[in-house]
Amino acid sequence: MSTTDPAAERRARIARQFIEAIPHARALSMQIEEIGEGLAMLSMPYDERLIGDPATGVIAGGAVSALMDTCGGAAVMSHPDAQGTATIDLRIDYMRVATPGQRIRARAECYHVTRAVAFVRATALDDDADNPVAAATGAFTFQRGA
C-alpha cells in the first residue's frame, strides 16, 4: 500500500474505521492486513473460545464465516463508490479444517458491482497458504455514495 497516494490513504482509513466500529469484529480481534480498491485482507487470531470440535481443537465453521463475511463487507466498502453494504447471501465451501493454533487470514475481492449489488469472492487461509481452508462467494447490497 502506497503511503503517498491520498486516495489509498483515504480508503485505508475508511476500511479501518469500518472494522473498528464493528463490535463483533473487535470481539474476535480481527485485524486489517491490506486494503485496495474493492479488495480486503483481514486476519483473526486462533482463540480457544472459538473451538467447534473439542476433540481436535479445530475452530468452528461459524467463526470462519464471521471472518469471511466481514472481509467481504470490507472489500465492498473499499470500492471507490461504496457508502454502505449488507450481506444478501453468502456461500462458504469448507475445504479442510484450519490447523489449530494458527492465525486465519481471509482475502476478499469485490469483482463486480451493479447499481445495487456487489459480487464478492473470498478465500480463507492458515499458514499452509497453498491449501485454502475455505472459499466463499457472496452477493452484498451496494449503496453508492452521493
Binding site: I22, A27, E48, P54, G61, I92, D93
Partner: protein
C-alpha cells in the same frame, strides 16, 4: 409389558444428553447459544448481546454471527437426531463425533435486530456419509424469517465396537 419409565427419568436423560452435546463446544458457549427441548424437537436461542452487532449504525446483528448461529443449529440438530435412538436406549456416547461442514449457504432476508433470535433446523437428507440440513431463523415473528440456510455435512465414521 414393561411399565413405562417415569417422565422425570426420561427428561433427565434427554436433557443430560443435550447438555453433553452442547456444553462441550466452546464456540457455542462463546456465542451464548442455548437450546430449548420439547420431546425431540430443538429450538436454538441466541440471546442478544452488544458484542454480536455487525452494523452499529442500524444497529444490526453481524452477518457472520447469523451464519454461525444457523450453522450451530444445523450441526446440533443433525447430531441430536442421529443420536436419538442411542439417547433413548441410554447408550449414547458422552462425546459423540461431530459432522463436518462441507458447505453452508446463508440467505439474509432482513437485517437481524438487536434482540434475541431463534432457529430451527430440519434434516432433509441423512445418509451414512452425507447429510443435507435446512435451517430457519426468526426474531419476533416465526412467519418472518430474518435468515435461512442450507448446509451439507460429512458424517463421522460409525464408532468402532470394543
Amino acid at each position: 409389558m414393561r411399565k413405562p419409565e417415569p417422565v422425570q427419568v426420561i427428561k433427565t436423560r434427554r436433557d443430560a444428553a443435550l447438555g453433553q452435546l452442547v456444553g462441550g463446544i466452546p464456540y457455542i458457549q462463546y456465542l451464548g447459544v442455548q437450546f430449548d427441548r420439547r420431546g425431540d424437537e430443538l429450538t436454538a436461542i441466541l440471546p442478544y448481546r452488544e458484542e454480536l452487532i455487525g452494523n452499529p449504525m442500524l444497529p444490526a446483528l453481524h452477518g457472520g454471527v447469523t451464519a454461525a448461529f444457523l450453522e450451530i443449529s444445523a450441526v446440533i440438530e443433525l447430531t441430536w437426531s442421529t443420536l436419538w435412538t442411542e439417547i433413548e436406549d441410554g447408550t449414547a456416547p458422552d462425546h459423540p463425533p461431530m459432522p463436518k461442514t462441507i458447505d453452508f449457504t446463508v440467505d439474509y432476508l432482513r437485517s437481524g435486530l438487536p434482540r434475541d433470535a431463534y432457529a430451527r433446523a430440519r434434516v432433509n437428507r441423512s445418509g451414512r456419509r452425507y447429510a443435507s440440513v435446512h435451517v430457519e431463523a426468526w426474531q419476533d415473528n416465526r412467519e418472518k424469517l430474518f435468515a435461512q440456510a442450507t448446509g451439507h455435512f460429512l458424517m463421522p465414521p460409525p464408532a468402532q465396537d470394543g
